[in-house]
Symmetry: C2
Subunit: 281 residues, 2 copies
C-alpha cells in the first residue's frame, strides 16, 4: 500500500506516542517531532507507510536511547492473552467450525495494536469479533488453498495477538513458519516475544529480517524472501503487514481488523470491519 496523505499526521502522532512511552522529557520529545517533521519532505508517497514508520521509530530509539519503548506493555499483553487461552481453546473445541472460530480469535487479537490511536479491551473485543460479520470473507478460497498446502508462512504482527495466533496455527495442522520482526518496533512481535507467546511449541519461528512495523520484501532477509516464494500458503496478520505486502504479486491471505480509515478505504471496507481477504488467488 502506498503512503496516503492522512498517514503523515498519524506518523507524527505515533512518533510522539512512542517517545512519551520511553518517559523522555519535553525537550527530547520536541526533538523527536522536529526530526520527524523534517523527514516528511523526504518521504515519497510511493513508499509503504511502514517503511516511513521504520525511520520514525528509529528516531525515537536514537534520541531517547530506548530500543524497545513498548517492552513492558508487550509483556503485559502477552500475559493477558495467555490467561484467556484455556477459555478460548474450549470455545474452539466446542465450535461448529473450529477453524473459522480460531480465525476470528486470531483477528480479535489484532486489536492489540499500539501503533493505532484506539483504545482496546481484549476480552470485550473478543466477544464482539467472535460474532461480527466480515467486511470481506474469502473463507472458501482460504480453506481450499489450505487443503492443498503443506507449508504455511504465517507473518505475525503484534504481541498478545501472537498468543491467539497459536490457536489458529493448531487448527491449520500444517508445517508453519511464523515470521517475526528482526528488531523491536512498536509492539510488534520479535523472536523473543514469539517464544514468550509459546509459538515455538507449534511452529518454527523465523526472523523476517525486517525493521519496519510491517513486512516489506525489500527490507526482508533471504530466508523470509525464500519462504515467501516457496511456501504453499501465506497468511499475513494485521495492518502493518497489509501495508507492506498488499501490492505483491503472489497469493496472500490477509487477516486483520481495519482500525484506521485509510486502510479501510484501501481495502474497500468500513473502519472497524474484520477481514479475511485473499489476493492474487
Amino acid at each position: 500500500m502506498k503512503t496516503f496523505l492522512d498517514c503523515i499526521p498519524c506518523l507524527m502522532k505515533q512518533a510522539l506516542r512512542a517517545g512519551k512511552q520511553t518517559g523522555a522529557d519535553e525537550k527530547t520529545l520536541k526533538k523527536i517531532l522536529d526530526e520527524t517533521g523534517s523527514l516528511i519532505k523526504d518521504i515519497p508517497l510511493e513508499n509503504t507507510p511502514v517503511e516511513t514508520a521504520a525511520h520514525i521509530y528509529k528516531i525515537v530509539s536514537r534520541l531517547t536511547g530506548v530500543k524497545d519503548p513498548y517492552k513492558k506493555i508487550k509483556n503485559e499483553n502477552i500475559l493477558q492473552a495467555k490467561k484467556l487461552l484455556p477459555e478460548l481453546e474450549q470455545k474452539i473445541n466446542l465450535a461448529e467450525n473450529p477453524l473459522l472460530c480460531a480465525i476470528r480469535i486470531s483477528i480479535a487479537g489484532n486489536v492489540i495494536d499500539l501503533g493505532v490511536d484506539k483504545k482496546f479491551n481484549i476480552a470485550k473485543d473478543l466477544d464482539k469479533i467472535l460474532y461480527q460479520d466480515f467486511g470481506i470473507f474469502d473463507y472458501d478460497k482460504f480453506k481450499h488453498k489450505l487443503s492443498n498446502s503443506n507449508t504455511v508462512l504465517f507473518v505475525g504482527d503484534n504481541c498478545g495477538e501472537s498468543v491467539f495466533d497459536t490457536l489458529l496455527i493448531k487448527q491449520l495442522k500444517k508445517k508453519v513458519y511464523y515470521a517475526v520482526r528482526e528488531i523491536p518496533v512498536i509492539n510488534d512481535v520479535t523472536y523473543d516475544d514469539a517464544i514468550n507467546s509459546g509459538l515455538n511449541e507449534i511452529s518454527e519461528i523465523i526472523s523476517s529480517g525486517v525493521d519496519s512495523p510491517g513486512a516489506v520484501l525489500s527490507r526482508a532477509n533471504n530466508e523470509f524472501k525464500n519462504l515467501f516464494d516457496k511456501a504453499d500458503i501465506v497468511i499475513s496478520k494485521g495492518q502493518g503487514n497489509y501495508e507492506g505486502l498488499s501490492l505483491e504479486k503472489r497469493d496472500i491471505f490477509f487477516l486483520l481488523k481495519a482500525k484506521c480509515h485509510v486502510i479501510a478505504e484501501d481495502i474497500g471496507v468500513k473502519e472497524d470491519d474484520i477481514i479475511l481477504k485473499g489476493i492474487n488467488i
Copy 2:
C-alpha cells in the same frame, strides 16, 4: 497558552484539512505537509499554538493560491445559524435568566469550529448545551463585573457562532466592540463575515489586526490593544482566543467549549465541558 507537544501532530492535520478544503491536488497537499513538517523545528513551545497556526494556514494559502479555503462553509454556517435565530430569541425571552440563556447559546455556537477534528450539528449541540452543567461557572463574577461596565470588548471567534453572539450582545446592554480577524484564517470571523452575521446592527465591529486563529496581543493592531487596555470588560470567545490571551495580565472572561483534550487540561476541565471562566478578577 503555550504550545503543547500534542498540538504539533494536530497542526499537521489542520494543514492537511485546510489544504484539502481548497481542492488542491495530491502533489500540492504533500508540499503543504513537507513545508509544515520542516517548520516544526522552528516552533518554540513557548509560542501560543495560534501563532504557529498562523504560519501554517499561510503555507496553505500560498501553495494553493486560495486565500479563504473555508469561505463557502463559513457562509453556510452563518446562514444556518441565522435560520435558528427567531427560535433562539424566543427561548431567551421566555428564559428565567435571559442573560445566562444567551451565554449558553453563544457558547453552543462555539461548536462550529473547523480547526478542530470534531463533527458538529448546530441544532443538536444547542439542545445539549442549553442544559449542560458548566465545567467552570464564574457567572456571579461576570454579572458583577458587567453591571459595573460601560464598554465591552467582545473577541469573536468562528463564523456562525458570530450570529449567536448577537443574541448575547443584545443581553449585555452595553457599548460593545466586536473584534474580528484581519484576514480569513480557518472559519474565523472577519469584518465581512461579522457584517454578514448582523453584528454591525448591535455592536461596533473592529479588526483586531490579527492574522492568527486566535487573538494574540503581539500580532494585534493599536486599536485592539488600546481597547484591550481600556474596555471595562473583555469577553473572549472560543479556544483560539483562549490560546492567545490566557496568559495576559488583565481580567478576561472566557466563554468556550473545550473541544480538545490539550485545552481542557490547560483549563483544568474535562474535554467537551463548557466554560465561563474569569481570570485576574
